[in-house]
């Protein structure tokens, strides 16, 4: 156990931890307090972690992994990756650090 333990000087809160609350704080202020909003993000199974970090940060809003909502959060953690275009989604605001807010007028 001690072999694997980090030295006290090396201890840093994990990157996800530090980034998530900071990344979503401005967005959270712009969203309703409760209800259901949509979500789009990078493709692939690994990106599901990003989705649940976003859900965690935005609770008690329910964030469904679907673009079929009037308000849709965009979460693109990898800044180098090209962002896919989403049909029917219009960029409402870019909060920086890969956090976007879209509107979907066609949604219910």
């Amino acid at each position: 156990m001690l072999r694997d333990a980090a030295r006290p000087s090396q201890i840093q809160p994990s990157a996800n931890e530090r980034r998530t609350e900071q990344r979503f704080s401005a967005l959270k202020a712009a969203l309703p307090e409760r209800g259901v909003i949509g979500y789009v993000g990078e493709p692939g199974a690994d990106a599901m972690g990003d989705y649940y970090w976003a859900q965690y940060a935005l609770a008690p809003l329910v964030v469904e992994h679907s673009p079929n909502h009037r308000l849709v959060v965009g979460n693109f953690v990898s800044t180098s990756a090209a962002r896919p275009a989403f049909e029917n989604l219009h960029l409402a605001r870019d909060f920086g650090n890969g956090v976007l807010l879209f509107s979907n007028e066609d949604a219910r």
Partner: protein, 469 residues
């Protein structure tokens, strides 16, 4: 509300509940350690149920409810000590350990080293992962706590099929206990889940040490605690903010209380057996695996007593009534949650597909292979699997079968075996990819039963210090 009031009320409620069913034992220091360690988990359990009931019935004055429950427990305790004092005088003497001094000192030094190494590692992990290490912490347990605490009158919205990965059917002991503490802090402080995980981890070690000290002396207690605390995955999971170590706490508590209850005279064992039932109920309120354990426990107890044909059987059956009686409100609470709040789980969604999987022999072979591999690997040990050493110890040392013959101990062993069998069955019928499911959950399932297994093995090993009842 005062921040320091929350842990105080939580622990006091747990201590009062444990003391209600307790028979005092000697030495007093070990008695207090066992009661205090049990009180940690029982306190979180009470806090969790209180918070959920307040949420479900839209009660907002949490402090009044906490104080009322504590006052009720204290009044019951007073009544018990005032009018039923004869039942609480049950004590047990413990012989001195007769092993060589050098051996006892070596074990004591290893114990102190293991304890401090575990505390050091746990503190480091809490600092590195303040919101937990791994998916389940932020996607399930802490997320549910956030919905409970931040959701206001619409807290049920968070338990929805729109979030299938958050497993909205999972029970709420951990999330509701976290949310209860957050209510006292007035914000969702990320240190609370860390602190609860830390407390459960070392309370489990405390229960193991004190219970073994009672039954087999301090050397066996130190060896058992060294085995547990030097299991890296136990410390890792305990500080990961998952529910597996809290569940292992309640499994161990239930097994210990069953065994201690079996050692008592029949008349005074009902309190300990009722506490064993409470531990099983809290296990069921922690994870779905705990619900399986609760059913296994009820079945095992009834099956073992049904086979007895002695004159003491009737007394045992009477003392079993409190154990089974406390399971009823727990089942009602869980049924309420599953029916009115949570959404159905996916495990039993298609009975015909489950039956088809059950008839596939390749799945049996796959699960057996993973069970064997997992037995050696679940602890994340360096070089030598301690599970193998424990098995060797169980097979090569002489056994004191006096405890093993007690219905409490037999019930515990049977219930644990049934639970492991139930896990096996779940892997056979899982709708997920079987290898994916085994890979991401089997080692944690083994860890859930590990503290209770260490206790059951060491409590049956003959030691020179143990009184042969």
């Amino acid at each position: 509300m005062s921040v320091s009031l929350a842990p105080l009320l939580c622990f006091a409620s747990g201590f009062a509940l444990v003391s209600l069913g307790w028979s005092r034992r000697e030495p007093l220091a070990i008695d207090l350690l066992l009661r205090a360690s049990l009180s940690v988990g029982f306190g979180f359990g009470i806090f969790s149920v209180e918070y959920f009931v307040c949420r479900a019935f839209s009660r907002t004055n949490l402090l009044a409810v906490d104080l009322a429950v504590l006052a009720l427990l204290a009044a019951a305790l007073f009544f018990r000590s005032r009018f039923l004092s004869a039942r609480s005088q049950e004590t047990k003497t413990q012989g001195l350990d007769e092993r060589p001094v050098w051996f006892r000192r070596t074990v004591a030094a290893a114990f102190v080293f293991a304890l401090f190494a575990a505390i050091y590692l746990a503190i480091q992990r809490v600092r590195i992962y303040p919101s937990g290490d791994g998916w389940d912490a932020f996607a399930i347990w802490n997320l549910h706590a956030r919905f409970l605490f931040l959701g206001g009158s619409q807290w049920r919205d968070g338990f929805t099929a729109l979030l299938p990965g958050s497993h909205p059917d999972y029970p709420l002991l951990l999330p509701a206990a976290i949310a209860h503490f957050w209510s006292y802090f007035a914000h969702d402080d990320p240190r609370i889940p860390s602190a609860i995980g830390f407390a459960f981890t070392f309370a489990t070690a405390g229960v193991l040490f004190a219970a073994l000290a009672f039954l087999r002396g301090r050397v066996a207690a130190m060896i058992g605690t060294i085995v547990l605390l030097s299991t890296p995955s136990f410390i890792e999971q305990g500080t990961a903010q998952y529910a597996d170590v809290p569940l292992s706490f309640f499994f161990l508590a239930c097994v210990v209380l069953l065994c201690l209850g079996g050692e008592e005279r029949e008349r005074s064992s009902s309190g300990l057996l009722a506490l064993a039932g409470v531990a099983a109920a809290f296990a069921a309120w922690t994870k779905n695996e705990g619900l399986l354990f609760l059913c296994a426990l009820a079945f095992a107890r009834v099956a073992i007593l049904a086979r007895r044909r002695t004159r003491t059987a009737l007394a045992s059956e009477i003392s079993t009534i409190p154990l089974l009686a406390v399971l009823v409100p727990a089942l009602l609470l869980i049924l309420y949650y599953k029916h009115f709040v949570g959404v159905p789980g996916d495990l039993f969604s298609s009975p015909s597909a489950s039956l088809h999987r059950l008839l596939d022999s390749a799945r049996y072979w796959a699960v057996i292979k993973w069970y064997v591999k997992g037995f050696f690997r679940f602890g994340h040990w360096f070089l030598l699997p301690v599970s193998l050493l424990l098995l060797a110890l169980a097979l090569t040392t002489s056994r004191d079968i006096s405890l093993a013959r007690q219905p409490g101990s037999r019930t515990a062993v049977f219930a644990m075996a049934l639970t492991l069998g139930g896990y096996f069955l779940v892997f056979l019928i899982t709708p997920y990819d079987i290898y994916w499911h085994l890979r991401f959950s089997l080692l944690r399932l083994f860890l859930q039963v590990w503290p209770a297994t260490v206790f059951l093995v060491l409590s049956n090993v003959r030691t020179t210090s143990a009184p042969n009842a």
